[in-house]
Amino acid sequence: MKLEEIMTRKLESIPSDASVYEAIEKMVDKRIRSLLVRSSHPAESDGVVTARDVVFKVLAKGLHPMKVRVGDIACRPLRCVSKDETVERVANLMEQSNVARVFVCDGGTVVGVVALMDILQAALVDRARNRHA
């Protein structure tokens, strides 16, 4: 099964100059746990911020989420894979890198995201279709 078939194409993003509080608002509104952080400056690269980053790097340290730039806590670089990549290889990559999601890129543009839940569901559907014992 190809990543293209299971990836989420709707990407929620936030500029790196936005505050962590704005990121929290967006995550709560959209009921998601991560955001693509688009660089606001040429020197910065795109990254990803997750609920885990917000809790561990800001809230747990007693920092004010309105005073911290989301770009300062984002994880970089983005882990990008090709949309033609297989689900199995991406699952292995996620295990090796200990990440819960990878971005699907096409010619330098992020076109989708695949999370652990997508991999899990794809594996279950594949199993049901192929009747594994």
Partner: protein, 208 residues
């Protein structure tokens, strides 16, 4: 397992064969709809209409065999419900094709619609597999779960379309209605397949 509850004559065998044929026709129609949304070939609309007519004939055949006395009485309501749900799903494929023929599919939602049609086709294939397993008395839990997962994906895509639908220009009231009916039918198919798989699961559970 279904065969275990037969009463020894050939009516059950004929009913199961007709039910399988009904599902095969549904799958063929789902495949044709998926191709229609990708290629836009209007010949496929006629093909889907023909398949729906054949599906209606298969449904009538199944129901008449059941009413003639196939299967133990306590199984008949659930079997009929399963057949009716498959037939309702058939109607949504036919109506999707009909309304697609009347609208220009807007590029902003075209990809989502094609992906829904592809998921619908996959769900149909899994339902056939579940039916075959149920007839042999095997567990269909994995197939039921896979259908639920795909149904959720269709629901997500439906949500994406609803957010973008305001960007789609409509010429008049009727074009708007046809758009609405097309999207309603395209996205209702997965609900009906999920219901059909649940009905099949209830049947298999009742055999235990």
């Amino acid at each position: 397992m279904l065969k275990k509850f037969m009463r020894g004559d050939r009516k059950e065998e004929a009913a199961l064969t007709a039910m399988h044929e009904h599902l095969d026709l549904l799958c063929a129609a789902g495949q044709a709809l998926s191709e229609l949304l990708s290629s836009g070939s209007k010949d496929l609309v006629e093909k889907i209409f023909d398949l729906e007519r054949d599906g209606d004939a298969a449904r009538r055949r199944v129901l008449s065999i059941i009413f003639e006395g196939a299967f133990l009485p306590y199984l008949r309501p659930n079997l009929c419900r399963f057949v009716e749900l498959v037939d309702e799903a058939f109607d949504t494929v036919e109506d999707s094709a009909r309304y697609f023929n009347l609208i220009p599919l807007h590029p902003s939602i075209a990809d989502e619609c094609r992906r829904i049609a592809s998921f619908n086709r996959q769900m149909c294939e899994i339902l056939i597999l579940a039916f075959e397993l149920a007839v042999r008395g095997e567990d269909i839990r994995e197939q039921v779960l896979a259908i639920r997962i795909l149904e959720k994906r269709v629901d997500d895509l439906k949500g994406d379309i609803e957010q973008k639908i305001h960007e789609v220009p409509v010429a008049d009231f009727w074009q708007g209605k046809f758009y609405s009916d097309f999207l309603h039918n395209l996205t209702t198919f997965s609900d009906l397949i999920e219901d059909a798989s649940d009905a099949l699961y209830v049947l298999t559970v009742s055999f235990r």
